[in-house]
């Protein structure tokens, strides 16, 4: 590392040469001989530390752009690396309960209740029998990271609602997670969009445990906290009930680039 800092010759706080006589008169606890008490040479160590601090500060200032450049380069050259090393453009795995709930797909049920003509308790096989939809879209977290071009597959939420005979005059939906804590909300209008998916597959594979498998929500145009993981229930209700993060200050209408004070590029 080549120091780029101005000379520190005149600002040495330690003044090693001046301290040498004292050191000789007063022997150290261990080790240092007379020569080592009056070190010679240039303070390269300090220059390295200051240089690193400078680089670190620049890194903090341009880190967002740098991370985006790295993410797009890595995903173009080494696809899949991001799923191992999050800094290479992968998902950061969050959970609000401390654990990562496990569910055997054979035992899985998605309950669709509330203002519906036919309450449902869908198995994985039931979901597979509904019309399948795939889309390749980004996942944007409200904390700043974004995973480009994720292949999502599953059943459009609107198809699930149609199967249950949901009352489209009801104005909202609640979503529940089998982690026992997380909840989310959407308006009926939002829920009927063609980019809101009950996802059973990510990257062409079943949704893994850490990503919220076997079934999660994917709300493409909104920040990631709307895409509830470990989904166990959908309830059709008359008014929006704020979800887990929404009662903690996050925007209920979480449009990417137009909420939570952020200006990220929207997900088309």
């Amino acid at each position: 590392m080549e120091p780029t800092l101005p000379s520190e010759r005149n600002d040495s706080p330690v003044a090693p040469r001046a301290s040498a006589p004292t050191s000789l008169a007063d022997p150290p606890e261990a080790g240092a001989g007379p020569d080592s008490a009056s070190p010679s040479g240039s303070p390269v160590g300090r220059r390295i530390v200051l240089g690193m601090i400078g680089l670190g500060a620049v890194g903090v200032l341009v880190g967002r752009q740098a991370q985006e450049a790295i993410t797009s380069t890595v995903s173009a050259t080494v696809p899949g690396l991001g799923s191992i090393v999050p800094a290479a453009g992968g998902f950061r795995i969050y959970t609000v309960t401390g654990g990562y709930p496990a569910m055997d797909p054979a035992d899985y049920r998605l309950d669709v209740t509330g203002n519906v003509t036919t309450p449902l308790s869908l198995t994985m096989a039931d979901l597979a029998d509904l019309p399948q939809t795939s889309m390749t879209k980004d996942f944007q977290c409200v904390t700043g990271w974004r995973v480009d071009d994720v292949l999502w597959s599953g059943v459009l939420l609107s198809d699930v609602l149609a199967a249950a005979g949901a009352s489209t005059t009801s104005s909202a939906l609640r979503f529940f997670s089998f982690d026992g804590a997380y909840t989310e909300s959407l308006t009926m209008e939002q829920a009927l969009r063609d980019d809101v998916l009950v996802a059973t597959s990510m990257f062409g594979e079943p949704v893994t445990r850490e990503h919220g498998g076997p079934v999660r929500l994917y709300v493409a145009p909104m920040y990631g906290y709307k895409s509830l993981k470990w989904m166990s229930g959908i309830e059709v209700v008359d008014e929006v009930v704020p979800g887990y993060w929404e009662v903690r200050g996050y925007d209920i209408d979480a449009w990417v680039g137009a909420s939570n004070g952020r200006d990220d590029e929207p997900i088309a």
Binding site: E29, S36, G41, G45, I53
Partner: protein, 209 residues
């Protein structure tokens, strides 16, 4: 230190003070905790295996904020300050040593610390400061704009990988040299080892004793 007066190759030479060894041990324990918890927070597979994310996260944050404390306390020790200054200063000989192919042969007699140890020390101090600063930005995230938070995460993430590489290298070097480990464990090394690994320092010890 009577050991330094003896020319016998088996004589013991004082190398690290009690305070320095205490600092080294504290940093070792904290670094192990930090790297282990970082792995559990960072790699999805390990995250799922370990779970308990809030607890792991709290341990990581506490260990991170505690890490500089031993270093700051050690500044009260004269031996620590003197060694820190030795590590800070690069002589012409250090550059020659770094460039030479046979730097491990002992042909170029080095002082108490070789240039590799000096680089490691500088990198470590720089890393502690940057990791503390970026970690603090992430911890007190509501005080900072989003771009700064993202930038701090970027620096914290990538510097972690560099730190792990350097820590592994440091540990590897120690594992290869039992007498160096004895020096850090007991504070003393043999005159023979000192003459081979740190010829100039051994000579200073012999003359200075």
């Amino acid at each position: 230190m009577d050991a330094t007066t003896s020319p016998s190759p088996d004589a013991r030479i004082a190398r690290f003070s009690r305070a320095e060894r205490w600092v080294h041990r504290s940093i070792t324990v904290l670094m192990i905790v930090l790297i282990a918890t970082a792995a559990a927070l960072y790699f999805p597979d390990i995250s799922v295996l370990v779970g308990n994310r809030p607890i792991v996260s709290n341990i990581h944050v506490i260990a991170g904020f505690v890490l500089p404390i031993p270093l700051i306390l050690a500044l009260a020790s004269r031996a620590f300050r003197q060694d820190a200054e030795l590590l800070n200063r690069f002589t012409a000989q250090d550059w020659t040593w770094l460039r030479s192919r046979d730097r491990r042969s002992g042909r170029i007699p080095v002082g108490k610390f070789n240039a590799g140890q000096k680089l490691n020390a500088a990198f470590s101090v720089g890393s502690v400061i940057i990791m503390l600063a970026t970690g603090a930005i992430m911890f007190f995230n509501s005080w900072f704009p989003d771009d700064i938070r993202t930038g701090a995460t970027f620096v914290h993430d990538w510097l972690t990988l560099a730190v792990v590489v350097v820590v592994v290298g440091h540990t590897y070097k120690a594992l290869m040299d039992a007498e160096a480990r004895t020096g850090m464990r007991t504070g003393h090394v043999s005159a023979r080892w000192a003459a081979r690994e740190h010829g100039q320092w051994a000579e200073e010890q012999r003359l200075g004793g």
